[in-house]
Symmetry: C2
Subunit: 525 residues, 2 copies
């Protein structure tokens, strides 16, 4: 089923001469198929088609878009074992994870289908006119969200399904009425192509305009740069490294017409262990965190890379236990030799800093591309003074910081860059005494977690997956949950517009029966 | 009452040696007072105070913030004739306009007071946990909007009250929980200082933290650059020229931590005259537009700078009538000699282009700083080929484009930069035959107007004042109406957080009685 070709709208295309293969990190060898890197011409074709498709697709009803999204989900499920096998062969991740991630992906697609079919997401608002108002008549104004235009989505290395080709960004953009061009992640180009095939099949089955979706293969950066620079592209979604996300943000900011880039980037997800909790259940916490640090080989953006407590016997005991527990966990495979290489390099760089003590380092011989987990510890002073230790090391790595006192702990929190999450581990209501710490943490994160682990991002409307830069490039939006659709739309007003020419969402008679704000009051009909 | 000093939080400060005066454009002479340009040190003090204030102000209740905003409105009204006189002496605008704009300003402040007192604007959303869900428990997640941090607002030259010191940006930011530092517009520094005094008085009366508001005087660009670059500043609001807004956007984009800039910039607000309307009432339309083009000496961002129709007898008749009507209007004073100079220069540049025909140009001797209105006409081909003619000329200036046919008219619409508004003048339901034209127009604007004029921006929830770049730097937000508060907030999630420690907006018992989404359902209690 895999051809290695690009999907330029509904057409397969392979005009280029540059080819590449994906790697099976578990076997440490190349997979079978060759992928054709898209040429400049193919990328321009995809953008032109997306723009043309936009002019009709933006007017498709919520019902039509819902059918499209649900059919994508069905087609993905129909890929069956082929998809799961390809996924595993390109990621080194186990079958259970592949199945779970597929479930999340189709759940997201169906959630957006429900959202746009119901229709109230456009936030329709009506202020009726008062023609005889003095000194000037009040015009009739009606507002709703409309799609921005063609969106480019960059597939994420660590979520080949849920944050890639038909992942959250794509589902939200398609739901909003924006055509999508996916720059497929070259590490899982086969998985990407299978999903692209499912999307194109769904587009054809449900009568979507050709160009509503394209899938671009590329191993070089130039394809992404070309896409983000293209004047017809109106927004960008990205999940990945700070370096990659920032590069795209900078390109977008320098355009003649700057465009929004929503990049969800790195995070070390600070966890604070309060004294009572350490006293009551340090071993249990250590055990839980050994699991969270190594979950998915530490390749989650919410991986807990920083654990903070106040120095003392209890914290020392926790560190010892964490080291011992994490050593018991069997190493697992990383996504790609390059990611494994970067992990080893990042780990080495952290260990080479002054005054870093290694708590647990699996130095036994392990399989190629498998990650050896590492826990290190430093004093609060060392951590504060050395910002290298604040950088994410992508993989099963965490630093425990032994702070002198609460003041230093708070100072560290305030010194951190923006984070996706912050966690407080607390017992016996002790958290009530730490309101200043909580406030400082809130200032640096997008989500506060009580007595849990940051890994595991629930897909629901109340989730915020994002946060102050560099957790994301625009903290005013979330990347997960139905509200992520807001990244791809703009509000639009009609003034004194004839009722019959208004979109259904804004007509007097409310034919869609959506929730609307009419003259300041929420109104269901 | 005017001291010429900066407000650094609640303290008056004049550490600098650079001073400047404002100009009375009507009299073409300097006003009495001298203003102290803020020093780097003073700016840093203002930012430090704002950041300190943020840590408490962000937690002030909606009720407290509402009281603050209403007291600002009251204090502004208490300034009485002093404010009106100062306003007029610094702008050349008439008393009626000053009074009207003051009314709009206090209305905006009170609207935001109502919004935050009621409280539902935070978009609270609750997904309750399912501890026994398999394979993993569902956590309890609760989300609401929280303020970004200290905001810098740049006063607008053309709205010394409604878009300046206590204008829409300031009101929205203060309502959201963000401290504000205003970079006062040097052309109306006296008006700015009077308003700043009112805000500071209100802050003191209602117990707001010192630093919740500062007012910075500066005639040089460096003060604004320093503010936008400062790491403790988290967002920027601006109303003004494309050049000025883009410069700030570029500074913000290059920061280590890029921040959002909402700049509402230039626009030529295309108006399309459909054939039937021209046939039925070309003289009436000409008369209306002569008024709209010259309203406020053409110094509105929604001024109709571009009128399009299909060439023919009717359009020629309209052009003639527009020329004759606009000549009858008495010239009026511009805001400042520099703005008058820029108007004359822009007008000259437009007139110097090839194949531009002047329809009406008041060449009689008029008072210094008064604007002589100008209407020119060109062919569709000329307009399409010469993008210089697409640039805004700020003042009572408009170009009528005589298109060869509908296709060319549509091509022109598609070739335009982003605009705040687009207007269609239509009779006898002819607009139904122009759906493609309307779609193309919608793609370039933030608000579509039917049979009206773009000038006059109603302040209500359904208004969108913004649009594709360069109408604004982020089309996903409006600058007018209560929804403009969304520019200054980010969504924030609490996971499994103890009920008693949650903000009131998210507590189980909903003590504020706000509208919330609970497990997907809108829920009033």
């Amino acid at each position: 089923m895999i051809t290695g070709k690009n999907h330029i709208g509904n057409q397969l295309s392979s005009l280029g001469t540059v080819r590449f293969k994906t790697i099976n990190p578990e076997l440490n060898k190349e997979n079978e198929f060759e992928y054709f890197q898209a040429t400049e011409e193919e990328i321009n074709q995809a953008v032109d088609k997306a723009e043309e498709a936009f002019h009709s697709y933006k007017n498709y009803s919520g019902k039509q878009k819902a059918e499209f999204l649900r059919t994508i989900a069905d087609e993905i499920e129909s890929l069956g074992g082929d998809l799961i096998n390809t996924y595993c062969s390109e990621t080194g991740l186990p079958t259970g994870r592949a199945i779970g991630e597929r479930g999340r992906t189709v759940f997201q697609l169906r959630s957006f289908a429900d959202l746009v079919e119901e229709g109230s997401w456009v936030e329709a608002s009506i202020d009726t006119g008062i023609p005889d108002r003095t000194p000037a008549p009040k015009p009739d104004l009606r507002k709703m969200s409309i799609p921005l235009g063609p969106v480019v989505v960059f597939g994420a290395s660590n979520f080949p399904l849920a944050y890639s080709t038909a992942g959250g960004d794509t589902a939200a953009a398609l739901a909003s009425g924006c055509p999508v061009i996916v720059k497929s992640h070259p590490m899982h180009a086969g998985t990407g192509e299978l999903i692209a095939t499912a999307i194109v099949k769904a587009a054809e089955k449900t009568g979507m305009p050709n160009g509503v979706f394209s899938n671009i293969n590329a191993k070089d950066y130039s394809a992404g740069q070309q896409l983000v620079s293209h004047p017809k592209i109106k927004a960008v979604g990205f999940t990945g490294s700070i370096k990659g996300g920032r590069a795209l943000l900078d390109i977008a900011a320098k355009r003649e017409e700057p465009i929004p880039v929503f990049a969800e980037m790195g995070s070390i997800n600070p966890v604070v262990l309060l004294p009572k909790a350490l006293e009551n259940r340090r071993n249990e916490i250590a055990n839980t965190y050994a699991g969270s640090i190594t979950l998915g080989t530490g390749q989650f953006c919410t991986n807990p890379g920083l654990i903070l407590g106040i120095a003392g016997e209890e914290l020392s005991g926790f560190i010892e236990e964490l080291g011992s527990k994490i050593k018991e966990i069997n190493p697992s495979c990383m996504l790609h030799p390059n990611i494994h290489g970067a992990y080893e390099k990042g780990k080495q760089q952290a260990m080479n800093q002054n005054d870093v003590t290694i708590v647990a380092n699996l130095d036994e011989e392990i399989q190629t591309n498998y990650a050896s987990q590492l826990v290190a510890t430093v004093s609060g002073k060392t951590f504060l003074e050395n910002s290298t230790l604040h950088h994410e090391v992508f993989g099963p790595f965490s630093i425990v910081v032994q702070c002198e006192n609460l003041e230093q702990l708070e100072e560290i929190i305030s010194s951190l860059e923006g984070q996706l999450t912050g966690t407080i581990i607390s017992d016996d209501n002790e958290i009530s005494n730490y309101s200043e710490l909580v406030a400082k943490m809130q200032n640096r994160v997008g989500r506060l977690i009580f007595n849990g682990v940051p890994t595991g991002v629930e897909v629901c409307p109340s989730m915020v997956h994002g946060g102050p830069y560099p957790a994301s490039t625009d903290s005013r939006f979330t990347a997960v949950g139905v509200n992520s659709i807001k990244r791809w739309v703009r509000p639009f007003s009609y003034q004194n517009w004839p009722n019959e020419l208004l979109p259904d969402e804004l007509k007097d008679e409310n034919p869609l029966g959506i929730s609307r704000i009419v003259n300041g009051q929420t109104n269901q009909v």
